[in-house]
């Protein structure tokens, strides 16, 4: 067997693995039950809650990610390596551990002051947003940085020699040129926030009709042996996920100039 065939066989093996998992859902799929669960108040609440918190978390993550990524991509500064390393924390530490770290923080005097005088995060919707934000901010920065690294610094130098201040060079040149990368990073960040489970359940708990996002709802239905209900929610999550991936493909399709 040629090397090419071996490589292609492996790619199809991976496809088969996921296809088997998705197809196995159909074994427990009940058509009539799907619609009933989908339009139930509890499911619609989970979908609404997940989409809202994921959107807010994504906006905040990108708000921090774009300037941070630009700094990491363009400047050399004291502590750059440290910042760069810390960004990978959400990738190397399990989300549950991240959630536990947040819970522990809110049990310190500073955390308790925030909870008393500011927003109540533990076991609230704000906790979901916080969980999604801390698990996605680093990844969002990493993705935006990758997009900005692809834009040659030379464009900004040219802009400066034409009279553009550093901020004008950023907004008029670097940002438009990395637009597709930033949109793709936002979509992936949103998808990651939507599927976030470990940190969410640790910080916000699993209260039905209060802090029950789609992944939490899946866990709760599975815990109560409601397989059909679990299948419906998993299919919803897969549907949203695949739509997102398709959108990313569209935005990351190479434009003629990049």
């Amino acid at each position: 067997m040629s090397f090419k065939r071996i490589a292609i066989t492996f790619s199809f093996a991976t496809l088969c693995l996921y296809a088997v998992l998705i197809l196995s859902l159909l074994y427990f799929y009940r058509g009539s039950l799907f619609y009933e669960i989908l339009i139930s108040e509890r499911t619609l609440f989970s979908i609404r809650l997940s989409i809202t918190t994921a959107t807010v978390a994504t906006v905040f993550s990108m708000f921090f990610a774009v300037p941070s990524a630009y700094a990491l991509s363009r400047y050399n500064f004291f502590g750059k390596q440290l910042v760069d390393t810390i960004l990978e924390l959400p990738m190397i530490v399990s989300p549950v551990a991240l959630g536990a770290m947040v819970l522990i923080f809110f049990n310190t005097p500073y955390g308790m002051t925030i909870q008393r005088n500011g927003l109540q995060f533990v076991f609230t919707v704000y906790g979901i947003f916080l969980a999604q934000f801390i698990t996605t901010a680093g990844i969002a920065t990493r993705l935006v940085k990758a997009a900005m690294d692809e834009i040659p610094q030379r464009y900004e130098e040219v802009a400066k020699t034409l009279g553009a201040s550093p901020s004008k060079a950023f907004f008029n040149v670097t940002l438009p040129l990395s637009k597709n990368g930033i949109i793709a990073a936002s979509i992936l960040t949103w998808a990651k926030a939507l599927g976030e489970f470990g940190a969410t359940i640790t910080i916000a708990g699993s209260m039905a009709m209060k802090t029950e996002t789609i992944p939490v709802a899946i866990f709760m239905r599975l815990a109560s042996a409601d397989i059909e209900g679990t299948v419906v929610l998993v299919l919803i999550l897969i549907g949203i996920g695949l739509s997102i991936l398709y959108a990313v493909r569209l935005f990351t399709a190479k434009t003629p100039y990049v």
């Binding site: 040659p152 030379r154 464009y155 130098e157 040219v158 802009a159 400066k160 020699t161 034409l162 009279g163 553009a164 201040s165 550093p166 004008k168 060079a169 008029n172 040149v173 438009p176 040129l177 003629p256 100039y257 990049v258």
Partner: protein, 349 residues
């Protein structure tokens, strides 16, 4: 008063560089790769940190950021903005500097006309030809009324003919707009064609700054002499005008017939690679052909330099090692020397 003055500049390979560039002057920086030419341009533009002082019109510029220096820069890779069309690329500098829309339109239209790219205004830059891109980049650099422009090998990606044509056109435009310009050019002949003065830079040091002819006839250091190809400089004793456009120049025991429209020549420069030697009598007329004795043989990389005494003149020739081996040349041997006048450089009285 110099427009640009660099004092004790040090950065990477650049070591204590001093250079003065006059107002409205076109200075060409020439030197081998890695000599520090582009770094020097970056220092003038303020795109890099450096040690030393930079003055524009006697005003200290060291703490002035690039966007406030008023220095345009045409990079080797052009870096046209791919997300903007040709018109917006040219208008960019004027837009960011806050010029009124009316001024922007007038200026951009004038440059589109001057550079013959009016038909490209709506096109995006990624589907332009090399020459078209070059013209757009030149127009963009000229647009914001900069008084200093830097060019880092701007025509390097073009074929020699287009490059020469565009370079001549650009230089005429720079002179008309009275812009002080610094070019980095790899090719010495190209530099000679456009420069008011040439600066030879080698290993981060400015070896000589002078008018092109001065460089060729009075190389100040061995490095410059080597860089310009170690030309043979002949002092002319007298000239005989043979007919219109043809003159016989006599230098010691040598008499050279060459095309020349003027009245008299004081000095002649002949590069070693324009002088051929042969151990047998070459066929054809004896025009610009002499007998000489080899006085020195110097191997240099893949070529051999041979010094031949022709009467009182010592002529340096250069030939490929394979050609040298075929002829069995040695010191003291009598050879024929043929001078090919491909590119003539001379000093008039």
């Amino acid at each position: 008063m110099p427009k640009i003055e660099l004092k004790h500049i040090s950065k990477n390979i650049l070591k204590d560089v001093n250079l003065e560039i006059m107002d409205k002057e076109l200075l060409v920086l020439v030197g081998p790769n890695g000599a520090g030419k582009s770094t020097l341009l970056n220092v003038i533009a303020g795109l890099t940190d450096y040690k030393g002082k930079v003055f524009f019109d006697d005003k200290k510029m060291d703490n002035v950021p690039p966007h406030k220096r008023g220095v345009g820069y045409l990079f080797q890779d052009l870096a046209l903005f791919p997300h903007l069309n040709v018109y917006s690329n040219i208008a960019y500098g004027l837009n960011v500097q806050g010029y009124p829309e009316k001024v922007i339109k007038k200026r951009v239209e004038a440059l589109l006309d001057a550079l013959h790219i009016g038909g490209l205004r709506e096109r995006y830059t990624y589907n332009l030809s090399g020459g078209e891109k070059q013209r757009v980049a030149i127009a963009r650099a000229l647009a914001p009324f900069q008084k200093i422009l830097l060019f880092d090998e701007p025509m390097s990606g073009l074929d020699p003919q287009t490059s020469k044509y565009l370079r001549t056109e650009l230089c005429a435009l720079l002179k008309r707009l009275e812009i002080t310009s610094v070019f980095v050019i790899h090719d010495l002949l190209g530099a000679e064609e456009i420069a008011d003065r040439i600066a030879i830079i080698h290993k981060g040091q400015i070896e000589q700054v002078a008018a092109p002819n001065d460089i060729f006839f009075n190389p100040r250091t061995d490095v410059v002499s080597e860089f310009i190809g170690m030309p043979n400089i002949l002092n002319c004793d007298y000239c005989n005008i043979l007919s219109t456009g043809l003159v016989e120049v006599v230098s010691g025991d040598m008499s050279i017939v060459l095309p020349y429209e003027g009245s008299s020549i004081k000095k002649l420069a002949i590069p070693p690679h324009d002088i051929y030697i042969s151990d047998t009598k070459p066929p054809g007329p004896a025009l610009n052909r002499y007998k000489g004795i080899i006085t020195e043989i110097l191997p240099v990389n893949s070529t051999i330099r041979v010094r031949v005494a022709i009467g009182g003149n010592n002529m340096l020739t250069e030939l490929q090692k394979s050609a040298f081996d075929e002829m069995n040349l040695k010191v003291g041997k009598e050879v024929y020397v043929i001078v090919k006048l491909r590119r003539l450089r001379y000093v008039e009285p």
